[in-house]
Every structure is written in structure tokens, then in C-alpha cells.
Amino acid sequence: MSDFNSWLTLSRGRITYRAGLKIFLFALLVTFINPTPLLIIPGPQQSVKSSHPILAVHTRLTDEVEPWKIKRTLQMAREMGASRIVEFFPWAYYHAEDGGIAWDHPDLVVEHASTQGLKVIARLGLTPEWARPKDSSLNYLDSTAYDDFAEFASAFAKRYQGQVSHIIIWNEPNLSYEWGYRATSAEDYVDLLKVVYPAVKEASPTTQVLAGALAPTLEPAGSPWGLNDLEYLDEMYSNGASEYFDGLAVHAYGLAFPPESEPGTNMLNFRRVELIRDVMVRNSDRDKKIFITETGWNDHPRWALGVKPGQRISYTLSGLEFAEENWPWVESIAIWAFRFPAPTKSYMDYYTLVTPEFVTKPIYDALKEFSFQDSD
């Protein structure tokens, strides 16, 4: 009893400081008692077998923390026949103000992708708090921080040289939201390319730099939401962008239209990418490849721009076939998105190929079958 009293002294409603400290230390000890985590090893080297190497998929491992889920995702992407993945590596998550970079998570993703034989296109973006004004959004990248971003991008390219083939500089800079809730400016974005491109090339000459990842939009000049992607690209060229990127990343969503629907300057559909290509050709940049880093159809029953689940499958497959037959200037097409770590319970869930529990959707099986047609 006296031993117990020395641990916990209760007297007229008082708990002594010493007893409180002991309880605190005991609670702290309990929180540290956890089962040993499973060791997830990458496993033997694999290679992608597919008769349609144009097929890629945008994974969403940015917020996936469990190594076995990262491995399983990339394994399933390879088994589906995707030759590449597009993955987002947020600058803000990794780079500290003192210059230190936390490589653990990107190392995990890149290593598992390499083991599965998948090429990696890395999208870099999101500004750390220390590199942007107070209360600004994560997408706010001021010109004063371009050098900091270039430092991160070049360190990333150097570390993953030979594993990450391409990096995309920022995301959808033609949308105000993605440009930190500021008016979009192709001139500013080209200034960013002018700082980042040479830094990356110096660090890793073989890494290909992709510009853009332009969002398909019809917003006119002066709109608070963004700027028409065709106009934005034209302005990029006017500001001397062509020497500062090796290929163009483009987002090409089909929305409610079949993939064969004719493109038009006043509409958004899968073949809008042909109009993007026209802008490149007009600006004497025909030799550069286009990488469609996000595409797909959505089968949410409530979304006005969605399609029926069966249409989603047939449109996706015929879109890939159409691109293979008609777009020699397109290097790869990444379906958005492979899987989310948890359900969003919104229309975004209806873009995925696999559920958070790794249950394959029929579109995954259809893509897998498509990939292995005529393959050895």
C-alpha cells in the first residue's frame, strides 16, 4: 500500500507534482509501445509488358504513408500495363528553410516505381511556408522564391537521375487558384522556367523538363479564374519559353464528349490537345513531344459533365487508340487517377481505377486487357 501511495498520492483532492509526473511518464511510455512495423522490401526487378506503351497513369501517393500501399499501388499499375506513372512531389512537404530535404517519402515512391519497371514523371509544386508571404496559399510562388524552388528541383533531379525521367514545373499555372489566387501571368511562369530549367540541366543533364501541365479552360483574358490554355501557351512563346522546356505537359479531359469529338476553340474535350499542338507548331516548336499527364472521363451519377460507367470504359479505350493512330507527337497518356488513399466521397472518386481498398474497378480490368492485346 505504501508503494502504491508513493506512485499516486491522493490527499484531500490534491495530486502531488511528483505523482503527476510519474503518471505522465508512464502514459508517455505506453504511447511508445507499438508493434514493430512490417518491413516492406521492393522485391525483385520487374518490367512492364504492354502492347500499348503510350498508357500511363497518374498515381496519388503524395499522402500515402504506408509502404505496403505504395508498393501495392505501383505493382498494380505495372500489372495493368502502364509504362509510366505521373506522381506529385510537393516541395512544401520536403524542403526545410535551412536547406535540409526530407527524402524518405520520395525515396520510397521512386525506389518502388523503379523496381516495378515504371518510368516516373514527377510533378513539382507547392511552396513551403518559409518561401512565401504570410497567409498566402500553398500555390503562391513569388519571383523572389524562384531560386529556392530551382534549388529543390535541381536537387530532386540529381538525386533521382536515371529513375525520374521527366519533371513538370508547377501545375496548371493558367488557373488563378494554382497560381496562388493571383492573376495568371505567362510572363511570370516563363521567368520561373528560365530560372529552373538551367539549374535542373546543370544538376542532371538527362532529366527532361516539362512545362505547363496547362488546365483546359475557356477563361478569357482578364478573368479572375484563369486564362484560356491556348492563349496562355501563345503568351509563353511570346515571352521566350521555347528554349526552357523539353516537352509540354497537357491535361486533356473528355468531359461528356466521346474521344473522337471534333475540337473547337470554344469547347473543351479530349481532342483540344490538337489545338495545343497547333500553337506549338505555329511557334516553330513542332519537334517537342506532348505528355498528357492527366486525362479521363468521370462516371459520377450527379456530375453534369460525367458519363455512364460503360461509356467511361469505352471512351477511355477508344481515346487511347485514337491517340496512338493520330497523334505521333504525343509521348504518353496518363489516366487520372489510379487510386486515392481514402474516399473523397465526391465526384473525384469516380475518376479512379482502383478503390482505396485496392478493389479493381471494371475500367482497370478493361485497361489491363487492352494493354495485353497482341503482347507476348
Binding site: R14, I15, R302, P309, I313, T344, S346, V359, P362
Partner: protein
Amino acid sequence: MTMRINLDISRISKFLPFQNEQMIILSLLLIIISGIGCSSEESSWERIEAAGVLRVGLDPTYPPFELTDGQNLWGLDVDLSHALADELGLSVEFSYFGYDGLYDALGTQQVDTLLSALVFMPNKTRDFSYSKSYFNAGQILVSLPHLEMNQVGDLEGMTVAVELGSEGHVLATRFEKQLQSLNILPLVSSDLALEALVNDKAEAALVDHISARLYRIKEPKLRISDHYLSDEPYSLVVRSRDQELLRQIDQALQNLSSSGELERIISTWLDQAK
């Protein structure tokens, strides 16, 4: 924002059941932490009661729950809005928004609530609260009356028709792994999946509750299970701080359910030809 607080412990310790300084500071910290998240903003309920109007936001593009021809508005959610307002002693004022803009409209106080076949979304719960569910649009088994299909196990050795690529199709592929034998028949629409029952091409169809009820209007002999194999609960949505409004709505929904009025409204739109 960082605040510096200087405390004279001796002045407040006499109000506490213990005098030890560390414990006092710990208690004060707990009190401060427990207070974080409490909003000082007023609830909307008093204003709604005073105005006598419940402002409802919806996206009228989803029959039979809500649809408009530009002049008239009709559907299950519209009738339910009126019934709820009656229970609360209010009239209803509808505002239309695109599906993607519904939550923004509620967040910016353009409406008091959303009643538009909306499903609980965990990532919205910081700013919004959901009422009790008034309808479950989840996946269920439909069969001919002599075959009572309710559970996964009932599908052993059977053929189940599904809409290609749908939620039902995904579920069926999961069940396929749990059962020794299951033949999945994917068809391009839920109507065709249900028609497969009538044409003896399948013993069961796995479709959403709405499609099942609407198809049964033309094939009344079909049996719809009352056991959901997945849940898709529809709820009203209010701003998180409007807890009194939420309580009133939940009570009104409870009253409508108890009186049978809720089921009558649902049946009007899902069991009767229009």
C-alpha cells in the same frame, strides 16, 4: 497568432479544488484547449424563425429527386422540403445551383440548408453538418419473387446482372472472390440489368436502390431486397455552427418518418408512374 498570458496563480487558486501550481496551470491549459473550436457566431435558427422562411439550395438536374423546366420545380426533395417546412412552421424558398457550387452557396449563406440528394462527405465536416439520412440509395439485390435474394451468400451458384462499370459491378467482383461460384453479367445500363431478370438471363440484379424502384414501376412482380449491400445515405446539409437548425430538421424528419409521410413522399416518386 501568438498570445502571451501572465497569470497570478495565487489570485485564482482559491477557486480551484487543488493548490499545486503545476496542476493549476495544467487545468487552465485544458480549459483553454477545450474552448478552441467553439464558435461565438450566432445560429441561423432565430433568423429563420423570425423570417418564417427556410432557404433551400438544390441542383435541379437529378430526376426524380429534383428537376426544373425553367419555370416549375418538382421532385422528391422538393416535396420533402415543403413537408419539412410545414413541420417547422415555415415556408420554403428554393435557390438553384450547379452541383459543384452547392456547398459554396451554403458556406456563403446564400441558403440555410441543402436538400439535393447529397451524401455524407467526411472531408466537409469541418464546415458543414449532416442531418439524419432520409433515403438510402445504396446497392441492393433485385430478383424474381420466388427467389429471395438478400445477402451475398444467396448469390452462390447464381448469375447476377449489373450495369457495366457501376458500383454494383465493383461489388459483384468483390463477391466473386468470396463465393465458390458467381457468374457476373455486365450490361450497358441498370435497366438492361433488371430486364435480364425478366428474360431469365440472370437470377439477380445488383443495382442502386433508385434504379430498382423506378424499374419496378413497369415490372411490379420484381422483388427488391430491403438489405443494403452498400450504403449511399442522402441527408440535408447545414453550416456547422447551425446546430439548432440541424436539431430542428432532425426532429422534423423524425416526425415525418413516424407519421409515414416520409415514406409516402418517397413512394410517390419512386413507385408510381409519372
